[in-house]
């Protein structure tokens, strides 16, 4: 048994996640039914060679700290760019138009914010975006940013393939439809459909008319990583913005689960965080139990994946066997012209 409180908690996160997302995910899958026209099996994917490259961009703090999107835009990268919902607007603002945008979180208010929420003024107060290290200057004036983001997403939506899990809230579906995105659906696993005693996922597949399932790794960023090799078939996959943690010196208040951890552990809240010494950076970052769980899963998946995985985040906690921790520039120099 781990004797670090944060790691103890991390052992429970898998079950907590199922408790948290299953009912709402299934509810959303029913509500989204009128939009099920195409699935990830309908994507037209060219046959890739062994060096076909993709960059998966998610929204960790290094994304803005290292100016990742602008650097990608400058190099005329010819492979696929896959973003998660949270990094989508950031990429657009810096001139990177991704081929694919992956979304899966069922939250009814927060996720639509990544696309510009037309009903923001009437939403409950929420400091989630302002509090965290998401390109903070830009989030200072939330109403103005929301308007700018709405216009940007509307301008570029028709160029984007939205890879939507059936669990997304209908507000997200509506924004994707309104902005002209081409939507391809998938189901997440809630249990193991190959196990005859487990029925939730098989019933969901029936409910959605046979939409295939894709594993997620617990969060949208890992789902986008899985999508890059398991569906698109890329064999050289770079990860950007995959900090899975917080930079040295980041106040606990600015971490994603701070309020929840404080409510649970009060003055012992600091013990719930986990320090990780990154030998590539010679820096000690820290993470929380949820991100620590995500980290463990990615390390497991990287062993299983048929691709070579490069972590080009240039920060964070994700390193280990089967993860090549290199700079973004090195990846772009080596594979930048190895498109489709």
């Amino acid at each position: 048994m781990e004797n670090n409180l944060g790691k103890q908690i991390a052992q429970f996160v898998s079950k907590l996640t199922a408790d948290k997302v299953t009912a709402v995910g299934l509810r959303n899958a029913k509500l989204n039914r009128p939009h099920y026209r195409k699935t990830i099996d309908d994507l037209l994917i060219p046959k890739h060679g062994p060096d076909s490259a993709a960059i998966v961009v998610v929204g960790g703090p290094s994304l803005h700290r290292k100016h990742t999107a602008a650097r990608i835009a400058q190099t005329n990268f010819t492979g696929d760019i896959i973003t998660a919902d949270g990094s989508f607007g950031y990429c657009l603002r810096h001139g990177v138009i991704p081929q694919y945008m992956v979304c899966l979180d069922p939250n009814p208010y927060r996720i639509v914010r990544w696309f510009g929420d037309p009903d923001l003024a009437s939403r409950p107060p929420d400091d989630y975006f302002r509090r965290q290290d998401f390109d903070p200057k830009y989030w200072e004036d939330e109403m103005r940013y929301n308007q700018e983001l709405t216009e940007l997403v509307n301008q570029h939506g028709s160029k984007i393939k939205a890879i939507l899990c059936t669990s997304v809230d209908p507000t997200v579906t509506k924004r994707c439809v309104e902005s002209g995105m081409d939507i391809y659906w998938w189901n997440q696993f809630y249990d193991d459909p190959d196990d005859p005693t487990q029925t939730v996922t098989r019933e969901l597949v029936g409910l959605t008319g046979g939409i295939p399932c894709m594993n997620t790794g617990g969060n949208v960023g890992t789902a986008a990583y899985i999508f890059s090799w398991a569906v698109l078939g890329h064999r050289q996959v770079a990860l950007a913005g995959f900090d899975l943690g917080y930079a040295p010196g980041t106040p606990f208040l600015n971490t994603q689960y701070f309020y929840e951890l404080r409510d649970l552990f009060g003055e012992r809240v600091a013990e719930a965080y986990i320090e990780i010494q990154n030998p590539y950076l010679n820096e000690t970052w820290y993470t929380d139990p949820t991100y620590y769980w995500f980290r463990e899963i990615i390390l497991e998946l990287a062993k299983q994946a048929p691709c070579t995985t490069y972590n080009c985040t240039e920060g964070g906690t994700l390193f280990g066997a089967n993860i090549n921790f290199i700079s973004l520039s090195e990846f772009l120099n080596k594979f930048g012209q190895n498109g489709g």
């Binding site: 670090n4 429970f12 969060n219 569906v231």
Partner: protein
């Protein structure tokens, strides 16, 4: 990095928490009742050899 809390209070982070069996039970109960809504990820993770799963043909037809 220094785990200097923004909160008031005395605690020593450098000393790991010692967990006895009873405390572990308390933690489990606490996590499951109070934290389920908040601390989980945004999606489930099920260990599978193949990350993509398609229904057998018969099941797909039943669902349509």
């Amino acid at each position: 990095m220094s785990k200097k809390s923004i909160l008031k209070g005395n605690y020593t982070v450098a000393n790991p928490v010692r967990v006895t069996k009873d405390e572990e039970t308390t933690l489990t109960e606490k996590m499951q009742t109070a934290a389920a809504r908040a601390l989980g990820g945004s999606a489930c993770y099920i260990k599978k050899a193949n990350p993509v799963w398609r229904p057998p043909k018969k099941e797909k037809q039943d669902g349509e």
